[in-house]
Symmetry: C2
Subunit: 245 residues, 2 copies
């Protein structure tokens, strides 16, 4: 399993993913699930992936290769004229990779499926955020649905729904993400530290660094430990129901 969030804020985009992959319970590894592409002053794109690791790695390799070879026939992520076209390109590659294995006659215990979140901005247009399905089609985040989750989405969803505010700072969003990931990691062993995150300032057109929250991260530890108490405080601030007698 995996857990990733991509979110649209008024000041830009923020992405976070865990790094645990597992085949069964006893075969776990750390892999990066957050990758980005950019051309300074022109575009920045970030991709989050959940699902079959062979599928997502193959998809990213194909996208990478295309973005490196200038004389490719199909335009790469650094050449497409719009975010919509970028999502279409990524969705097409993802669908092709999944189909190639599905049709090879080989059977795996689990499906070769994967789901992606793609966000970014191209000069002259606003930032956009997409959720891309294994079939290659996609939906876009809107004011009503300003964030996407992929992987183990349920445990960490209620806090996102309740606390999201389009005007929030990146620091506040990062804290919100940490709480959402902490709830998920406490409930599902297949989601684990370290966490990767990236922040994109609107109109910066610069691909920010990918940062990592490690097991030793003191802020994360403080948030993880403080959240239980903060929740109990929040609960006790609510009116107490009376038991009928």
């Amino acid at each position: 399993m995996t857990y990733c969030i991509g979110m649209r804020l008024n000041r830009g985009l923020i992405f976070m993913s865990d790094t645990r992959t597992n085949a069964g319970m006893d075969n776990i590894s750390v892999f990066r699930k957050l990758v980005s592409w950019g051309k300074r002053g022109e575009r920045s794109l970030t991709l989050l992936s959940a699902g079959n690791l062979a599928t997502t790695q193959s998809t990213i390799s194909l996208l990478d290769e295309r973005s490196k070879a200038a004389n490719e026939r199909v335009p790469g992520l650094l050449e497409v004229p719009s975010m919509f076209q970028a999502a279409r390109l990524v969705g097409g590659v993802l669908r092709d990779v999944i189909q190639a294995h599905a049709e090879s006659g080989q059977k795996a215990d689990s499906a070769f499926n994967a789901t992606l979140i793609l966000g970014g901005q191209i000069k002259g247009m606003p930032p956009r955020l997409f959720l891309i399905y294994p079939e290659g089609n996609f939906i876009e985040a809107s004011l009503d649905t300003p964030f996407f989750q992929i992987g183990e989405t349920k445990y960490g969803r209620p806090i996102l729904v309740r606390a999201y505010d389009p005007d929030m700072s990146f620091e506040a969003a990062l804290k919100l993400f940490m709480v959402s990931f902490d709830s998920t990691m406490k409930a599902n062993l297949s989601v684990g530290l370290p966490l990767d995150y990236q922040v994109y300032d609107v109109d910066s057109l610069t691909t920010g660094q990918i940062h990592r929250v490690s097991v030793e991260d003191e802020t994360f530890q403080a948030i993880s430990q403080g959240w239980g108490e903060a929740l109990r405080g929040a609960l006790s601030s609510l009116p107490e129901p009376k038991l009928p007698t």
Copy 2:
């Protein structure tokens, strides 16, 4: 879908279930999923059910019939000498009902499976709480795992894990349940109001009334509306991570 919680506290047991059943998105109904049996001064048992409605209703009917007919060959829930035997009886009936349909040659879109929570007390023994699987086997709640959830368990789990306290009052537990159900209903349309709940005071050996939280319940409304703000307050009380520069 469904959502039910059964919880062990130092002062007794508390149970809650939603009442929505659905076959697809456009065929929803209200059914009671919380039933209880008792003999004043001698025993009290409560059953929560999630899964195929035909299976759970059939299981309850069979258990009911048995508890009514004094000359049944298999002892009913009002006659078994221990809670362990009660769980075995319920598990056996559940397994038989599921198997009868699975072997009938008929095929349904969804499985005939169901999962149950059984809690209660028999005179001279402490209260006990069981989670009963479709296969008829079961596990018992302990100090380490003092509550069970069935149905759509994920959205409402983090708050239970964080806020559970064995010494809490029934009122506090009821509030906690309302928050857990509210988070679940906000995320999954197939879990819905009204909610049924029952409280069992340790050593009372009296089957309490089943109470209902309706759409008009003012305390529930206040909790549902106040929880978002309380959560945001809890979040802002935590230390803010610094973005690396």
